[in-house]
């Protein structure tokens, strides 16, 4: 049994909305071992960002964590004090955001924001030459013209440059876990590949444990050891990366593999008829059943348990 770094158990998270409290994450289980890179895959709106933001506790104010555990190095993040959380964010968990444009403050220069990140995440940062460190980081993420970027406002940079700045921020201090939440979805198609390759290099070089989030299986397969397929706020299939492509079991996983990413860069169409569930009143039993071509009565009444299909390959589906 490999040593667990992060272990999410039966996590239920929703949001307060004007229609009531939603149930987005539902019995979500996920595990990252030390030095392991996993991929978390699912359609838009299936709860990937919600899961990631639970890990370092930066969910929006209207989020409600109903139950579950998020154990990091054996300690439950959900029971941590604010002080412990701040320490966790500074020392242990880093996140590359989904939308770099929205993730940088528009009113402050890159250097100001970089400086604060360095100041608070580096140990003994008092005697740090912030400019020198920033430029070093910019070079490591292959930002061209780092001096200019350093002295710019975010709106003066291209999308790709902004994302490189965000990546530089997430690398500001050594951490145990790097979360990349769809780091290329909001970038031009031409830039997507470069940024993804950069992240691949970083993962290889730095021996991080990492979670790579994506809507498309194909996009992450080069980089991850294991894949978690998420639907409607719960994990429905887990397998080593090759296995999932060789032998996908869940109808949803099959659908994801068969469909191809749209080239327009506007995300990804799953090729599976139907929509993600309404989280105010989600489907009973297996949340996928209304869209599943093979569903039976069992699927409507009871949530399928995660079962071992073969070694290192788990699936939650009544048909297996």
């Amino acid at each position: 049994m490999a040593e667990g770094l992060l272990e999410i158990k039966d996590l239920d998270v929703g949001y307060k909305t004007y229609r009531g409290v939603t149930s987005v994450l539902y019995n979500l289980n996920l595990k990252v071992n030390r030095n392991e890179t996993i991929g978390v895959i699912g359609e838009s709106g299936c709860g990937k960002t919600t899961t990631m933001k639970t890990i370092n506790q930066i969910l929006p104010d209207n989020a409600v964590i109903k139950s579950g555990e998020v154990n990091f190095k054996g300690k439950d993040i959900l029971n941590m004090t604010e002080k412990e959380l701040v320490k966790l964010r500074r020392r242990n968990v880093s996140m590359i955001p989904q939308d770099p444009t929205a993730s940088l403050n528009p009113l402050f220069k890159v250097k100001t924001q970089m400086k604060d990140v360095l100041k608070y995440s580096r140990q003994n940062s008092e005697d740090l030459d912030f400019k020198e460190e920033t430029i070093k980081l910019f070079n490591s993420v292959a930002l061209s013209d780092p001096e200019r970027v350093y002295d710019s406002y975010p709106f003066q940079l291209s999308g790709g440059m902004r994302q490189r700045v965000c990546i530089a921020m997430s690398l500001a201090a050594p951490k145990d876990l790097l979360i990349a939440d769809e780091p290329t979805t909001n970038l031009d198609v031409t830039i997507q590949d470069q940024v993804l390759r950069l992240i691949g290099e970083i993962l290889e070089e730095m021996n991080f444990s990492a979670i790579l989030v994506s809507q498309a299986l194909g996009l992450v397969k080069k980089f991850v050891d294991k894949i978690y397929v998420v639907y409607g706020g719960t994990v429905i299939e887990i397998a080593d990366t090759e296995k999932i492509f060789e032998n996908p079991i869940h109808p949803y996983t099959k659908g994801l593999i068969e469909s191809t990413p749209k080239l327009t860069g506007g995300g990804f169409s799953s090729g599976i008829a139907g929509q993600t569930p309404d989280y105010i009143d989600p489907p009973s039993g297996c949340r996928f059943h209304p869209r599943c071509p093979h569903h039976s009565e069992d699927c409507k009444t009871e949530k399928p348990k995660m079962r071992e299909f073969e070694k290192n390959h788990y699936v939650a589906c009544w048909r297996q």
Binding site: I58, R89, A102, P106, L107, F108, D116, Y153, A172
Partner: protein, 340 residues
């Protein structure tokens, strides 16, 4: 950097608007009332006298020439005579306007400090009791006009409790300081008459607070809601995610974008005080320009009305310029042209 260019551009537009305003005022003051000669002379004045008068006042020249002559007079400080005070309007302005500007400056100080403190305090304690208390204050402040507060304050804190003087700007017996700037407070300080200065401020406090309350309430609400909006932004979550301390996030990364709408409205509120001061000055018998202007309006004193409109226009132009400059300083996207 680009800031200078930006201010230059704003200044240019301010001047254009004032030019437009002057055209309007000229039309309003010279054309609408009819033939000024007929208003000046009696019915049995001989024709050649009228003709001479017309020539000497340049009323026989084309309209645009008349406009430039009028504009030249304005720039030379000649605004005509007031039929109410029987003095030159310029003299009236010099006598009364400084009192009002002093009152407005004092009120603006209350408004800036008050709205920021309340807004930030409410925005930092959303839905806690502090927020509720401030919300109640805001509702009351926004829905009741300044002069009502003036009456309430006067009755309570001046008449009943006696903490403040009831009316006026200086207790009788206090000699006015020698006039240097025309501003009573400043002149008193320049002359080293601190007691006079304190006495003046004491008189101005209640009217200034009354004048400040409605705007304070509105701007405080805008700052509060600005903070709520910005709090939900991704960049605030990310700042938190990178381990920045709560204090740095709140007072640096959250506050700055949150106050932009509030600052704009704050400027408008201060500019509008000149109008709102009318009734407050009446209540406190404050020897200010607003009270004087109302009087002029009631007596159809055209020259004074023209001067009032002009002063309000200039005031708006100046405050707009200041606000635009501050907002551009806060938000670089504006400075660098076009928001993305």
């Amino acid at each position: 950097m680009d800031m200078k260019k930006y201010i230059g551009k704003r200044l240019f537009w301010a001047i254009i608007s004032l030019f437009g305003l002057s055209l309007f005022i000229f039309y309003f003051g010279r054309i609408i009332p009819g033939d000024p000669i007929e208003m000046m002379v009696g019915p049995r004045t001989p024709d050649h006298v009228i003709e001479n008068l017309r020539q000497s006042l340049a009323l026989d020249r084309p309209l645009y020439i008349q406009y430039f002559i009028w504009l030249r007079n304005v720039f030379q400080g000649d605004l005509g005579f007031s039929i109410v005070t029987k003095r030159s309007v310029t003299t009236d302005v010099k006598t009364y306007l400084p009192r009002t500007l002093e009152l407005i400056t004092y009120a603006a100080a209350f408004q800036i400090v008050g709205s920021f403190l309340l807004g930030i305090f409410a925005g930092s304690n959303i839905n806690k009791w502090q927020d509720h208390v401030i919300r109640i204050f805001s509702y009351i402040g926004v829905s009741i006009p300044a002069f009502v507060f003036a009456i309430i304050f006067q009755l309570t804190f001046a008449y009943q409790l006696g903490w403040f003087p009831v009316t006026g700007a200086l207790t009788s017996g206090f000699a006015h300081p020698p006039e240097v700037t025309g501003f009573l407070g400043i002149d008193a300080l320049l002359a080293g008459q601190f007691k006079t200065f304190i006495n003046f401020v004491h008189h101005a406090t209640l009217p200034a607070i009354a004048l400040a309350i409605p705007g304070t309430a509105q701007v405080a609400r805008m700052i509060r809601s600005g903070m709520i909006t910005i709090k939900q932004k991704e960049y605030i979550s990310m700042a938190k995610g990178f381990g920045l301390p709560e204090r740095t996030i709140r007072f640096k990364y959250l506050l700055r974008p949150s106050i932009i709408p509030g600052v704009t409205v704050l400027g408008m509120q201060i500019a509008m005080m000149l109008g709102n001061a009318f009734l407050v000055e009446m209540v406190f018998r404050w020897p200010g320009f607003s009270r004087h202007a109302i009087n002029a309006m009631l007596h159809s004193d055209l020259n004074t009305i023209v001067a009032t409109v002009m002063i309000i226009g200039i005031m708006f132009a100046i405050i707009n310029l200041v606000v635009d400059t501050i907002v551009a300083y806060i938000d670089p996207r504006i400075r660098y042209g076009g928001r993305s």
